[in-house]
């Protein structure tokens, strides 16, 4: 059984994973939730123990669940929606672990920050039609307006997205510790993310 994280968050303040007196309850908010609107092709690939990320995005804002390793969208959750949205808005982050697969249920808990090991190999997706990738090509990494990681060429044009590790990699790009993507296998295509 999942335990409630306690009281409502305060309306202001609170650094990420903040200490006492900052945002009430958010740091200990843990619970079970059913996965809503599962994406069948992704849902069929997860197993018990699969780590996921929870991102607040979309219009209206929703709690979208992504598979951490691949960055593929798995579905969404609606349990404790308002308190989670307030806590995320106050700087807290949450992750989820798959605890059952048929149907999929998740255990949601605060997400502790971790450093993504670099170099890091990832699939480049949403590559524009006609783009010619060659092994060794270097691209810069940036965040788009939605906070997602994109690889751009020297002209600033999007070459593709890196969906894997949607929180940790975005944090690394935001913090300047992940800056470049080098094409490793143009056929897939995969890139190696480095400083």
């Amino acid at each position: 059984m999942g335990g409630s994280g306690g009281g409502e968050p305060t309306s202001s303040g609170g650094s990420q994973f903040g200490g006492p007196g900052e945002v009430l309850g958010c740091g200990s908010l843990e619970f079970q939730a059913a996965l809503m609107s599962p994406i069948p092709t992704v849902a069929s690939t997860v197993a018990i123990g699969t780590d996921c990320e929870i991102l607040l995005e979309g219009t209206p804002p929703q709690l979208v669940v992504y598979v951490r390793r691949s960055g593929e969208q798995l579905g969404a959750i609606t349990e404790r929606m308002m308190i989670l949205m307030r806590c995320i808005g106050a700087g807290f982050a949450y992750e989820a672990e798959v605890i059952t697969t048929a149907p999929i249920r998740l255990y949601v808990r605060p997400r502790n920050p971790y450093l993504l090991g670099l170099p890091f190999t990832a699939v480049l997706s949403d590559v524009p039609a006609g783009a010619m990738l060659t092994a060794g090509d270097d691209f810069d990494l940036r965040l788009d307006s939605g906070g997602k990681v994109v690889a751009v060429d020297i002209f600033g044009s999007d070459i593709g997205r890196i969906r894997a590790e949607p929180v940790a990699l975005a944090d690394a790009v935001r913090g300047g510790t992940a800056r470049r993507a080098t094409v490793h296998d143009p056929a897939v295509p995969t890139v190696i993310v480095t400083r």
Binding site: G2, F31, S37, E79, M81, M85, P103
Partner: protein
């Protein structure tokens, strides 16, 4: 095919297990119908504090919403899913109206509603069926309700008589749900029974709403006959219960065939557990009430024999011999309870154990002789009922 659901969007909270979500009968049924492939509109009421959450949840669940204003939030707060909820927030809202070829409507706490439809399914909850029918216009009407509501509304204790009285309300179809047992369908063709689907996990909150959605999907939107529609409703309710989610399609394929509706001996559960202190007796009262509510008979030593000395042992075991399953409240490892579990096991009576820690070393002999020990109270209660149904049907 399009459908309009008219009903409540309410916060549901529960202490054990911990639940906090915005659903309610209307929102839940709309989500189920959308998941079953229908373009679904929800006509509901919402307050300013909850409107953003309603939009977000509805978007996630694929529902179009026409929301009217109410003054304050409405919350149904449960201690466990087996308890009656406390309801907070009963502010009045203006009456609602729905017009569509197919409408599924639920009684609401904050307002009344009317509907014009070709096909109308009414789940009255606590609202007056007569008033609802008077305010609605429909080519065909079905009433879906549970056995306790049917008895309360009609004053008939016999469920067949209650269903027939509701049929004269008038309605084309009446479905009376009987919890873990299944239910009855009444129509011009007569009265027929259907069985329930057993699941290992049971989250009962809202499974009745899911039943109504499943019934509406089959009867109102796919022209299934009433019996087929009720069986599909039962299947959807079980899938909802298994998933703990109004989106049932991912669970429908996980279900076994339904259990047969009892026709001979009515299933009876022996409620084994200590009752030496107030907390223990409170749990016994709650579980006994829950078993009765979901449609099975109960032999409870506390209620049916009482406290006493050594003389109660034979009376207790006589009661146990007449039961089809045992629900054992194992926490504390009361010697009397463990004795009863062993006695039942030797007699071939199935045992379901409830314990906070299912892996506790103390339950080795119980688990090792084929009994199931579960930590979820609702799942334990329903599993005991279904075990009794299976044994009653085979003896």
């Amino acid at each position: 095919m399009g459908v309009t659901v008219i009903g409540g969007s309410y916060r549901e909270t529960c202490r054990e297990p911990s639940i906090d979500r915005l659903l309610g009968s209307g929102m839940r049924a709309a989500a189920t119908l959308a998941d079953l492939g229908h373009d679904t509109q929800l006509v509901t009421c919402i307050d300013d504090d909850t409107s953003d959450e309603l939009s977000a949840v509805a978007h996630t669940l694929g529902i179009r919403v026409a929301a009217h204003t109410r003054a304050e939030p409405v919350t149904f707060a449960y201690d466990t899913p087996l308890h009656h909820p406390n309801t907070y927030g009963t502010s009045a809202a203006s009456p609602l109206h729905a017009a569509d070829s197919a409408v599924l409507g639920f009684g609401m706490v904050e307002t009344q509603w009317s509907a014009d439809a070709s096909v109308l399914v009414i789940d009255p909850q606590h609202a007056s069926v007569a008033d609802l029918l008077q305010r609605c216009s429909a080519g065909r009407t079905a009433i879906v309700l549970n056995e306790h509501e049917a008895r309360r509304i009609t004053g008939e204790h016999d469920l067949t008589a209650a269903a027939q009285a509701l049929l004269a309300a008038p309605a084309n179809v009446v479905v009376v749900k009987q919890g873990a047992v299944g239910g009855l369908i009444a129509s011009a063709d007569g009265v027929e029974a259907f069985g329930a689907h057993a699941t290992d996990l049971v989250e009962p909150l809202g499974s009745g709403d899911a039943f109504s959605a499943g019934f509406a999907h089959a009867w109102a939107l796919n022209d299934a006959d009433p019996a087929t529609a009720a069986r599909f409703g039962s299947k959807v309710a079980a899938a909802h219960s298994l998933a703990g989610s109004p989106q049932v399609t991912q669970s429908l394929h996980c279900l076994d065939d339904p259990l047969p509706y009892p026709t001979g001996q009515w299933p009876r559960v022996y409620l084994a557990g200590p009752f030496f202190d107030l907390a223990q007796r409170t749990l016994i009262h709650v579980v006994r009430h829950a078993l009765l509510q979901i449609g099975v008979e109960v032999f409870s030593p506390l209620h049916d024999v009482g406290r006493g000395g050594d003389e109660v042992a034979v009376a207790d075991l006589d009661g146990l011999a007449g039961c089809h399953s045992v629900l054992a409240l194992l926490d504390g490892a009361d010697p009397g309870t463990v004795f009863e579990v062993g006695w039942a096991t030797r007699e071939g009576i199935p045992v379901i154990g409830f314990a906070d820690s299912v892996d506790d070393h103390g339950w080795t002999m119980i688990r090792g002789t084929g009994s199931r020990v579960v930590s979820d109270l609702a799942s334990a209660v329903y599993s005991a009922a279904w075990a009794a149904m299976r044994r009653a049907a085979s003896t």
